[in-house]
Subunit: 227 residues, 4 copies
DNA sequence: CATGAATGAGTGTTCATTCAT
DNA sequence: AATGAATGAACACTCATTCAT
């Protein structure tokens, strides 16, 4: 995605001394602030009303800018939306690390991952809702991005299952289906806390634990061996 | 939702002779057929392209009727959509029965419920996709309907968990979260079969079983006691 | 160019009798009238202000219709413009006939052609101005159409020169350049009468004669042999 | 047309010493250079893409200046365009001289005029294309300027015809129409060389000669007496 | 003088809904 | 009951122009 924004003219700075530098730097910061303001406003609106029900008019009103200014910072409505989705995906990708099953305490590692994802989710409530809500079919680029993201998520989950099974921790299951179920479970739990029970921030550890607990142990009253 | 359709034809039937009755009856049937044709066309389109990408023009083209006729049968695009959602909800509600934990074999009852829901889902693929895909924010009435439906589903699931726990079948869990997770898992698995692997109809029993299996037993390699 | 307009539903007419036929026919005529009204309004505006300075808003205001209606009859602004250009080209093509130099009195035939073109021009003043004014670069389809038209005109003129030379009527000249000059002369004379001296309708024969006279005989005081 | 530019710097020069004078002079020259750069860039763009398809953004990018700077040198886009047109008109006016028919060899004088115009045209290809392409309707001031210019050109040509006729060199013709035709022929031939056959610079004398030849002698195969 | 971020009126186009026939 | 022509509010987007720095 082309970022219309920071096309800074890096020409012949040395001759002009500090005043130019400082002014340019301030301008740059200003630009960033404006961009962020738009992104924040859009994030709120998109997460609340969805992509289609949010007009550019809504966004600029919420961001307190004019129509023209919007298109100074973003190529179009789609690219704004895409950027928000990319932001979310990036933040998730940044905290998830592949669990090597040969290292000790893999369940702990998995828990740490889940815990960090929970943090990202609750620190970016609107972004999360926006990504989980909106579905395929808006825009090929968005579709592609989400498809790749879910591909990654699924690979992580399937990998965890596979490794767990190889190590003997987890019983043999129909991996693709179980991965699907787990992903659905996670999405729904997040959406529940972010939308249905949006007013109360839950204890993050307990969310992470419940997810893992549910995924790993199921519901039957049994004796389980954990590490 | 107001049904524009069948209300009008019900007026003052008794005074007129059989000929009218018969004519009216035929007209009534004809009306129903038209309505159904529209609903079927819309169901296909909405499930394939989503609400926003499906125009009234698309619907009437697919249903083979004129613009004006559409508004003879439905108040507007929203109410058509709402009716499809209601249809789905109704069909699910019709087959789900509250499991009384004092009766024998509650797990079997739960399985029967799941099995019947699976049937409704695979017998109404488009309707299911349409409901599971489209989300909050289109229209307050739709939102309300879905909220109530999910409330019902959640109550069912939580009830089952509660009862299971009381009877000692199921261990104590964070019921609301686990209910949410279960619902999400089920939704995602359905969507997987209906969209990702749409070309192959899975064995319905095995879908029901793996959902239950996953939900009840989790993933850890353990010895479980089942009924 | 797709004509949005007369997409008449020719389905199962026979059963419905005259009333339908008549109604449909009237509707058809109405449609044609509306289309023509739009074309006329657009023709006036485009010829007066050019393509770019004429907005769709101008057209619909002049035609006395609403925005939506405009798009019922034309795909977009470009296709409206294109249709006007096509109209003009068609009317010219309809009256120009290739002159066979082996037949007697070729100069007379050429005069007849010029005379008929002059008629088309003065019977379609706005259309003519619109075509002569607007230039390359608006729209590839328009460009192509005009290019082909001028190609045809040039071929006609060059053909006439070539034949004239072969028959010995016309002296040898640099055909392409002279054809260019002749075309320019004709265009300018038309534009002069249609724009500069728009208030007075000139004697059409004298316009045709002057054009031919100028083209054939030039300005020097000489004795010429004519047929 | 108000020239925003050089007016301001002319104020109260006398009181200040040489240093200011020199600085001011340098500034003045710098100003002129910038103006010219903009005019050149605009000339290229306007002639290539036309007025409407050339944005101020295009101009400033090509001229290598900022948006604000543009408006320091020109009041607006229109006045930039107007100035280019004025430039062309001025250059033509500068080389055309009224032919006094009482002086010897008037045809030679006319040829000299045509020859000089041909020089201006081929030395200012972009400017010529820009003027000949763009037409009425952009802006009343531009319209007025062009109208006056064509009025002048027409007067020149009509005068030449009249004088030629009086002297007996040229036969009696419908002067206004023939003048118009001549002007159109010249314009079209220029455009042909500048646009259609833009890659090859023609022999300028031959262009001038064929224009005159065509205008004076026409096409019929005749014996002509020339001076 | 020079800059470029900001503006908002204006553009072409879409589409759910209405209503005369 | 059925039609489809007509509507106009709403939409995303552009671009000449202004002005604080």
């Amino acid at each position: 995605m082309k970022r219309t924004g920071p096309a800074r003219a890096q020409v012949a700075k040395e001759e002009l001394g500090d005043s130019f530098d400082r002014r340019s730097a301030r301008a740059e910061i200003q630009r960033g602030r404006r961009r962020d303001a738009i992104l924040r406003a859009a994030s709120t609106l998109f997460s609340r009303q969805g992509y289609h029900s949010t007009s550019v008019a809504d966004v600029i009103a919420a961001a307190g800018i004019s129509r023209g200014t919007f298109y100074l910072y973003f190529d179009n409505k789609d690219s704004l939306f895409l950027e928000l989705i990319e932001q979310f995906i990036q933040r998730i990708m940044d905290v998830v690390e592949v669990v090597d099953p040969s290292l000790p305490n893999p369940t702990g590692r998995i828990y740490d991952n889940v815990r960090r994802v929970v943090d990202v989710v609750f620190d970016n409530r609107e972004l999360t809702v926006l990504v989980l809500r909106e579905d395929v079919g808006l825009n090929p680029e968005v579709d592609e991005k989400l498809k790749r993201f879910y591909g990654f998520v699924r690979a992580m989950v399937e990998g965890a299952l596979e490794n767990g099974a190889r190590v003997g921790l987890i019983r043999e299951v129909n991996e693709p289906i179980v991965a699907t179920a787990l992903i659905g479970a996670i999405k729904e739990v997040f959406m529940h806390h972010l939308v249905v029970a949006a007013d109360t921030e839950p204890a993050r550890e307990s969310v992470a634990e419940s997810l893992l607990d549910f995924g790993l142990r199921g519901l039957l009253r049994v004796t389980t061996r954990e590490e």
